[in-house]
């Protein structure tokens, strides 16, 4: 196997990257008088030659070496911007204008040397909120021309998967509303799962920004991916599509035609000979044949030693032996003997000897023969008994020679090369060597591929991989390259190298967004039509432009804002494509996690709310109380996606709905009719058996109901073989388990029954994850299922009370009011929260007799901590009404050993999975009050009763609406907003309001805004902040 792989482990031996500071040499630097005055007034008291608080001094800036000075300026820049200096307790503070002046001077100095770490920081998603919210929406800056700089944007993990999917003609499928459909978004393509080097960070919030650069690590991984993809393309995809109407890389077919023909011929000859060489030799040599065979030497087997006293021996079962024989390559020979009617009646020993001789003359390795013969010695009797009882799928082979011409070639070669005592494999190898050599000669004489053919190859590779034809220059360059590859490597390896070369160009891994055409008065240019088509496609999906979009671009119909609007609107309405939402859920066997809406529309809310993280939080199943927590969580997330999709489909008051809906999906696939039918079936079974003595049925009694059982098809129960079953029990036992479960769902006056399968076993469940009900406080033993959903769930309002969000914003075993409060402050109220100071050990102290809220309050409601925690805690406390699994509660369990009241079993007795097995602890009442400030609306700010109250207020807040729009901007633009994007944001809000709360309208507005449509070449990196 021609492996790639120095990059197998992807560690490279390189020079370390240099920092961005200039070399140490004398660099002119002076502090202007006005700035000196400012520093004298506000800074030097604490930071001069006499007093150097924090080891910082500013009076010697001109004397510092350049790198140290830049470092100092960087520190100053952040402190001034974040208003951390002068400290707030200082009475003399600079005015806004003074602060601005100081900041601008520092920024200019750093910019001269391209050395501002802060400006790099401001481009990061976590710093987006530092642009003043009120300024963005006030209208004061709406006349600033919006634009994005020319850029290349590294592809995301999703785009990477799609590129490979498209390039390798992937054929992934998924399930949508019970129907199998082709899907986009898989990460496995035929037998190849490339290593994805573009994984996005796992944080909550917008994850895909245009800030990331390609590193050596990416490139190294892509080298390996390219090698494997090239091999898959030439060795699998090209042959696979050879006979179809649309060949895959037809130039490869042509270049490799002669070699492929030779390979096929050689393969056919080898396969024929390996199976039939004995017969061919017999036919060729007749009676003389035996004398040419090598002298038979039987293998020596280990004899089993007697057991020592007290020792026992349990022979491995027959199926193990048969598998072993198969893996040793002995199965075929054995069965050809066993099935051959001409040799019926042979004893075990005779059969063994016959097989052994065949293997020996064949030239099989002694060790292999030993292994096979040992198996026959120990198991042949049982194999024959099994064969007699059960038969076999293996068929007796009928000898069929190749064509006369081929047989003549074989005979000639065997006659030429066979020597006395040769094993058959030796003869075959000699013949093959000669034929291989002859064919190689033939190919050498045929010469290398023509320039025309190689040019076609280049064209096809560009189209297949880069989705465009090469330019004339590129054609020339790549043709020269391909010829040199052919000369050095031969045709096949040259083709593979060419594939790798094209795949490794930066164009494959970077999205191009450069303006073209004439600039306007602000120096802005629109994206080229091709770049625009990709920008639009990747804004809404992970796929390249669809047919219509590509056509519009090619035909000059993607040049105006209206063109953009038309295409975007069309794509937003499109529902004939399906996308895998979350590969992790697919890995967890939640196969229904498929959507038909543009995937990035749904993904925005996934990232915004951050609920996908719930699946990564390691939780204790014992504390959950019921089992299959992983499956339940997968369903929880899948149904959260379903709910988002439902709200987006309605597309009315989307933000308000997300924040305040009382209707959720709980164990429902979105198809009300299907769920009703499933519930009806359970009810039917219940009604049929409920008045019988089913608990005491025996086989005979149950057998009287075969017809009904056949109709309703209870899982793993065969009405005609009730005595059989699976590892969970016989048919009768499984029936009783089912009825226990069904009865529990309907014997308390419930109107409907959740349609899950009755018990654990093998095979696919009807709908896995029924324990999702526990997150919503519905016990399996008393659950009145709602067949029409989304349906009202008590004590819930909006996504902030959804278990998925609550789990994602909690710890492994406790809630986390700080994280939950931080989410609301930053995501919904457009606030900022400083980093945890380095001196702080942010741990909630233990106290086994206090609630988490009170422990947290004790640690954080102190002078030093409260200035930050005041921004978070009061917003997080209302969610103490839900535990770390998102379950509603009025009392908090104090889960420590000394508070244990009752220990429940760790495993369900009698495998009754309906029981809640949580241990019982002492409890304390939950305090879910809090405080809202920061909406800017005095009617909304103020004391909060609980999470429901908080959700309602947030749902009414304009600032919250605007904050969501800011995040939407970041998501679709791939960057933070600046003051020059003010009009874009204002327009987007207006679009939302005027459309009755349509998120589609927001998207259209954003993607037809100046911020999206226009690009500007990079000169200086200033956006007015």
């Amino acid at each position: 196997m021609n492996g790639p792989l120095h990059s197998c482990s992807v560690i490279l031996w390189v020079a370390s990257a240099s920092i961005a500071f200039a070399a140490e040499k004398a660099v002119p630097f002076a502090v202007p008088d006005q700035v000196e005055d400012l520093m004298a007034n506000y800074c030097l008291d604490c930071h001069d030659g006499d007093v150097q608080k924090g080891d910082i001094r500013f009076d010697n800036l001109t004397e510092l070496k350049h790198p140290k000075r830049l470092d100092m300026l960087n520190r100053m820049q952040e402190q001034v911007f974040f208003k951390q200096m002068p400290p707030k307790k200082k009475k003399t503070q600079p005015s806004e204008a003074e602060r601005r002046q100081l900041f601008d001077w520092i920024s200019d100095e750093l910019r001269k040397h391209d050395a501002s770490r802060f400006e790099d920081k401001l481009r990061k998603p976590e710093y987006g909120n530092y642009v003043d919210h009120d300024k963005l929406f006030s209208g004061e800056f709406k006349d600033l021309p919006g634009f994005t700089y020319d850029r290349r944007w590294l592809i995301s993990e999703y785009i990477f998967n799609d590129k490979f999917d498209r390039m390798l003609k992937g054929q992934a499928t998924g399930y949508h509303r019970g129907r199998k459909v082709p899907v986009f978004g898989s990460k496995r393509f035929h037998r190849l799962t490339p290593t994805n080097p573009f994984l996005l960070p796992t944080r909550s919030g917008v994850r895909y920004y245009a800030n990331t650069d390609l590193t050596g690590g990416h490139l190294s991984t892509m080298l390996t991916n390219a090698q494997k993809a090239a091999q898959l393309m030439t060795d699998y995809l090209v042959p696979r599509h050879k006979k179809s109407r649309q060949q895959y890389l037809p130039a490869v077919v042509e270049i490799m035609a002669l070699e492929d023909q030779h390979i096929a011929t050689l393969k056919e000859r080898r396969e024929f000979l390996e199976t039939n060489v004995a017969r061919v030799c017999q036919d060729l040599y007749g009676k003389k044949n035996d004398s040419l065979l090598p002298e038979f030497v039987p293998v020596v087997l280990n004899e089993a030693k007697a057991l020592e006293e007290g020792e026992t021996y349990k022979k491995a079962p027959i199926h193990v032996a048969q598998n072993t024989l198969k893996n040793l390559g002995g199965e075929d020979a054995l069965y050809q003997v066993l099935l051959n009617p001409e040799v019926k009646g042979l004893s075990d020993l005779e059969i063994r000897n016959r097989c052994e001789r065949q293997w020996f003359y064949n030239g099989d390795h002694e060790r292999k023969i030993q292994g096979r013969v040992t198996m026959l010695r120990d198991y042949l009797t049982e194999v024959r008994e099994r064969l007699a009882k059960n038969g076999t799928k293996i068929k007796l082979r009928i000898y069929k020679p190749l064509t006369d011409e081929e047989m003549a070639i074989l005979h000639a070669a065997i006659t030429k090369y066979r020597k006395q005592g040769d094993f058959h494999t030796a003869v075959i190898d000699k013949c093959m060597t000669q034929w291989t050599h002859d064919f190689r000669q033939e190919r050498v004489e045929a010469g290398p591929p023509s320039d025309e053919l190689l040019t076609q190859l280049v064209d096809q590779l560009f189209l297949q991989i880069l989705e465009r034809p090469p330019s004339a220059d590129e054609q020339g360059d790549y043709l020269t390259l391909s010829k040199s590859y052919v000369a050095k490597l031969g045709n096949l390896k040259a083709i593979q190298k060419m594939i790798q070369t094209v795949l490794l160009s930066s164009e494959f891994v970077y999205r191009q967004e450069f303006g073209s055409g004439e600039p306007d008065e602000h120096g802005r240019r629109m994206l080229s039509a091709r770049d625009a088509s990709y920008a639009i496609a990747y804004a809404l999906t992970d796929q390249s432009p669809d047919g219509e979009l590509a056509k519009s671009a090619a035909e000059g119909r993607l040049n105006t804002r209206e063109d953009y609007r038309r295409e975007i609107t069309r794509m937003l309405k499109r529902r004939d494509r399906h996308y895998l939402v979350d590969p992790i859920l697919i890995d967890k066997n939640h196969r229904e996690n498929v959507t038909s809406m543009p995937i990035r529309e749904l993904r925005f809310f996934r990232e915004f709310f951050g609920y996908p993280k719930a699946i990564t939080i390691f939780k204790d199943e014992k504390r959950f109380g019921v089992d299959r927590l992983g499956s339940a969580t997968a369903r929880l997330l899948g149904e959260t996606d379903q709910l988002v999709a439902h709200i987006l489909e309605n597309d009315r008051n989307v933000f308000e709905e997300l924040l305040t809906t009382e209707k959720f999906y709980v164990f429902h696939d979105g198809d009300n009719e299907r769920m009703q039918a499933a519930s009806d079936r359970i009810k039917r079974i219940y009604e049929y058996f409920k008045d019988t003595d089913w608990q005491n049925f025996d086989l005979e009694e149950l057998g009287k109901h075969k017809d009904f059982l056949r109709e309703v098809k209870i899982r793993s129960i065969n009405p005609d073989k009730l005595e059989s079953g699976n590892r969970s029990g016989t048919g009768l036992q499984l029936f009783k388990k089912s009825m226990t479960s069904i009865t529990a769902r309907l014997d308390k006056g419930q109107k409907e029954a959740a349609p899950f399968d009755m018990y654990r076993g093998y095979g696919s469940d009807f709908m896995p994850g029924e324990n999702v009900s526990s997150f919503f406080n519905y016990p399996l033993i008393n659950w009145d299922y709602a067949t029409v959903q989304p349906g009202k769930v008590p004590n819930r309002k909006g996504f902030l009370t959804h278990p998925a969000w609550l789990i994602a914003h909690a710890q492994n075993t406790e809630t986390d009011p700080v994280i939950r409060g931080k989410f609301i402050r930053e995501k919904l109220l457009a606030g900022t929260i400083p980093d945890v100071p380095i001196t702080v050990d942010a741990v909630i102290p233990e106290d086994h007799h206090a609630t988490l809220r009170s422990r947290l309050a004790k640690a954080t409601e102190t002078n030093y901590c409260w200035k930050c925690h005041d921004l978070m805690n009061p917003l997080g406390y209302p969610f103490e009404a839900y535990d770390d699994f998102g379950r509603f509660r009025l009392r908090e369990s104090l889960e420590t050993p000394e508070n244990l009241v009752k220990k429940n079993p760790d495993k369900a007795p009698n495998r009754n999975h309906l029981l809640d097995l949580r241990d019982i602890y002492k409890t304390l009442p939950v305090d879910a009050t809090g405080y809202l400030k920061g909406t800017g609306d005095p009617k909304l700010d103020g004391d909060v009763k609980d999470a429901i109250d908080l959700a309602e207020r947030l749902g009414k807040s304009r600032r919250v609406r605007q904050s969501i729009i800011r995040h939407a901007f970041r998501f679709f633009m791939g960057r933070n907003e600046f003051l020059s994007d003010s009009k874009t944001l204002i327009d987007a809000e207006q679009a939302y309001v005027e459309s009755g709360g349509s998120f589609d309208a927001v998207i259209v507005s954003l993607l037809t805004s100046d911020s999206f449509v226009f690009r500007k070449p990079i000169k200086e990196q200033t956006h007015d902040n």
Partner: protein, 457 residues
């Protein structure tokens, strides 16, 4: 940006959140003698009773059987029969009992989880939560190949998916037979043309990307320059490998012809010995400082074992006490372990022959032999016995001892996560805790973070 809060929170801490192998770039050597690590993982468990000392005093035996804390010097005791191949190196041996691995996936296979301390969800990519411990260690001791994975899992050949992980959701590749391992590790010696053709391609790409660099400014230009530097770095590395191929050649291991084309006819002892030779050669040639060696899994065919010479035995049936060739299953299992121990002995012996610093290469080497799935064939991870062979310059204070730590669910109990944290802390990574936490310890509110202090040097 990783804030301090992010760094401290949660049970799933990875060292420095270094997701990409790019961060392993470094100049090798630089005058410092690196530490070396060999992780040898086996299937079908190590039963704690099998690795206990046969001549414990009655008191110690009682403690050990009750799984209570215990520590004895090995030089005062005999080793179990299957470990006696290491008798000559007992002073370097630690038998570490009492670690638990319930946060890992157990039963039949653990895949990536035993070396990453997470559940692997049956080998799905998305379940890989963090770089496995071998990769984290490799970051601390960079080398040209950084990390090498050798594997006999599943009886495969060639270059195939491995079990180690360089980053979250990223699976490593491994060499699945000795011939492939040799060809790949010593490619610059055996097949310089292949390396050169890679460089031709890289030169071409460099010229193309260089053209793109002109005409862009600001951070786009920097971005392009970085790209060019990356290509150049790989080219330089390839050229360096070719330049040192002369000195690499003297470490090139010889393999018997039976190993050609994947070695379908090689016996298990032959394969193991050959793979061990390649591993030793890679260490001696400074190609790597960290190697992971999956010496078997339940799908590995085993042939040619003493006592079962002509049998092809299955590790899975043996785990169920189903036997072959008239030999009781436990004896065959023991012979498998002896075969493993033979490899460990070979590594030690060969490294002790190579002078390094004031001693030998083995002085700076640690070999760990451990089960992928806990305490038995269908282990649940309540115990994960470790056999550690460490040279004289080991940073940990443990050699020459049998150590039993408090059992799971008791105060002072230590998990696999604690052991890996110990390794990292002792070698320069100050991570607070590596790996997921144990749920039972969490429920009981026992402290379970950090290194095993009694082992820290």
């Amino acid at each position: 940006m990783t804030t301090r809060r992010d760094f401290l929170k949660s049970s799933a801490l990875g060292a420095g959140a270094l997701a990409m192998p790019a961060d392993l770039f470094a100049e090798p050597g630089q005058g410092n003698i690196p530490k070396r690590f060999v992780f040898i993982r086996k299937s079908s468990g190590i039963r704690p009773a099998e690795i206990a000392l046969p001549d414990f005093s009655d008191k110690d035996k009682a403690l050990d059987e009750k799984k209570e804390p215990l520590e004895v010097d090995l030089d005062k005791h005999e080793l179990p029969k299957w470990l006696r191949g290491l008798e000559a190196h007992k002073e370097h041996m630690t038998i570490l009992q009492g670690l638990s691995a319930k946060m890992s996936e157990n039963v039949h296979w653990s895949f990536s989880s035993v070396m990453g301390c997470f559940k692997s969800n049956r080998n799905t990519l998305s379940a890989i939560k963090r770089a496995t411990i071998d990769f984290e260690i490799a970051k601390l001791f960079p080398s040209p190949f950084g990390h090498v994975e050798l594997s006999f899992a599943g009886g495969r050949t060639g270059i195939v998916d491995g079990y180690s992980a360089p980053a979250p959701q990223t699976r490593n590749y491994c060499y699945a037979d000795p011939d492939t391992a040799r060809s790949e590790l010593f490619k610059s010696v055996l097949n310089p043309e292949a390396v050169n053709s890679d460089n031709d391609m890289l030169s071409f790409l460099q010229s193309k990307e260089g053209l793109k660099a002109s005409g862009v400014r600001g951070h786009e230009r920097k971005r392009q320059e970085k790209h060019l530097q990356s290509i150049e770095a790989i080219r330089e590395r390839n050229e360096k490998l070719i330049k040192v191929s002369g000195s690499l050649a003297k470490h090139l291991p010889e393999l018997a012809p039976v190993h050609a084309n994947g070695g379908p006819n090689a016996s298990t002892p032959e394969k193991q010995a050959a793979m061990t030779d390649v591993l030793i050669a890679a260490l001696k040639a400074d190609l790597t400082n960290v190697a992971t060696y999956t010496i078997d899994d339940l799908g590995t065919p085993v042939t040619g074992l003493p006592g079962n010479e002509t049998d092809r035995v299955g590790i899975h049936p043996l785990g169920h006490d189903e036997a072959f060739g008239g030999v009781p299953a436990w004896k065959t299992r023991e012979q498998i372990r002896i075969s493993h121990v033979n490899q460990i002995n070979t590594i030690i012996e060969k490294l002790k022959q190579v002078p390094e610093g004031k001693g030998t290469m083995f002085d700076n080497t640690m070999i760990m032999y451990f089960p992928e799935n806990g305490e038995t064939h269908h282990g649940v991870g309540s115990e994960a016995p470790f056999l550690i062979m460490a040279g004289n310059n080991c940073n940990l204070n443990m050699s020459g001892r049998y150590v039993r730590l408090p059992f799971l669910g008791n105060e002072g109990h230590k998990t696999l996560g604690n052991w890996y944290t110990t390794l990292l802390n002792a070698h320069g990574n100050p991570i607070k805790h590596y790996g997921d936490l144990d749920l039972e310890m969490s429920r009981k509110k026992f402290d379970q973070l950090g290194a095993i202090k009694q082992l820290m040097g």
